[in-house]
Symmetry: C2
Subunit: 199 residues, 2 copies
């Protein structure tokens, strides 16, 4: 058994506590103004109250740690039923907006803002975290077309940009705007399904 | 005549060149990783090759300079005709996506990421630059409802979030994705107008 699988085995509360503290410390640092440049294994170790070797046993470098920390901001998307595209999109949308808060936004913006200095970081985040999520939305939309609930000439990417764009833009705005109305996601999905033009 | 109006009087090429160099230097610094924290009157003066007093004659502090620099990233929105909501939205959308490039994105992300440390900066940017732009979109949508081109039960904010969200999300993505298709804005507007569900 390697050190890695040993550490990740469930039911080891001390390692789990350390891992949680390390992830939280990474997010705290990422949310601060220097962004990725402010994150180092040393700084994370100091903030989490663990030794550097504890971190290196689990993560080979700071990029891998940052990707896991960013991934931890993402709620697992719910299993979608595939019964109605409207119900599926609302369920996915609710999970998405539920994960937004100002720390989440600041971490993401700081990583995006420094992207040209850390192109591999963003690429890996895209491949490991974002692409599988995009696929879920695409699958739900494609299922809706198959069942005749959606127009069969639909451009899936355009449809996805409209939905995710609205949720992201509103959900990630700064804290001075009023909290999301309870029916916001439902309104977004219905407005998108039925269009702006009169029927 | 005050120093300010003197400087801003048209037809003074030397002042204009200095002003342009100052704005560009501010954007260059903002686009780098420390974001707002990396911008100081000293650093801008050094990068633009002007004296600090040249900057202070025009801007009282670094926040005012940053807001003008960010505003310079925004294309002026075209006069909309009010003849067809579809044509108006496409014209506005084209202007919007035309202003996106990776420097624009990095500046905006860096400012947003540091927002909690500079709340007034973001508030003033919102009030001076973003709010008037949002009003243009709201006016076009409201005109569409008045003329019966759009459903009269439409939530204008939800409709705006869908449109702007899609354009922002796609337009501001990093440079490794393919360039925008020429008909992207048109497709977004039509998908939104006619909805995803079959008619």
């Amino acid at each position: 058994m390697t050190a890695e699988t040993h550490l990740r085995r469930p039911g080891r509360p001390r390692s789990e506590r350390a891992e949680k503290a390390i992830i939280e410390a990474t997010l705290d640092l990422l949310a601060e103004e220097p962004g990725v440049a402010g994150v180092s294994i040393e700084a994370v170790a100091a903030r989490a109250g663990v030794g550097k070797t504890t971190i290196y046993r689990r993560w080979p470098n700071k990029e891998a740690l940052i990707i896991d920390a960013l991934a931890s901001l993402k709620a697992p998307l719910p299993e979608v039923e595939g019964l109605s595209v409207r119900a599926d999109l609302i369920a996915l949308g609710q999970a998405m907006v539920g994960e937004y808060n100002s720390k989440h936004s600041r971490c993401m913006w700081n990583v995006m803002g420094g992207a040209e200095k850390h192109p591999q970081l963003l690429e890996q985040f895209e491949a490991q975290v974002m692409r599988p999520r995009k696929e879920v939305f695409r699958r739900v939309l494609a299922g809706g077309i198959e069942r005749g609930e959606l127009r069969d000439d639909l451009d899936l990417d355009v449809a996805r940009f409209l939905l995710i764009g609205a949720l992201t833009l509103r959900g990630r705005s700064m804290s001075d705007i009023p909290p999301l109305a309870e029916d916001f996601v439902e309104k977004v999905v219905d407005t998108l399904l039925f269009g702006l033009a009169p029927r």
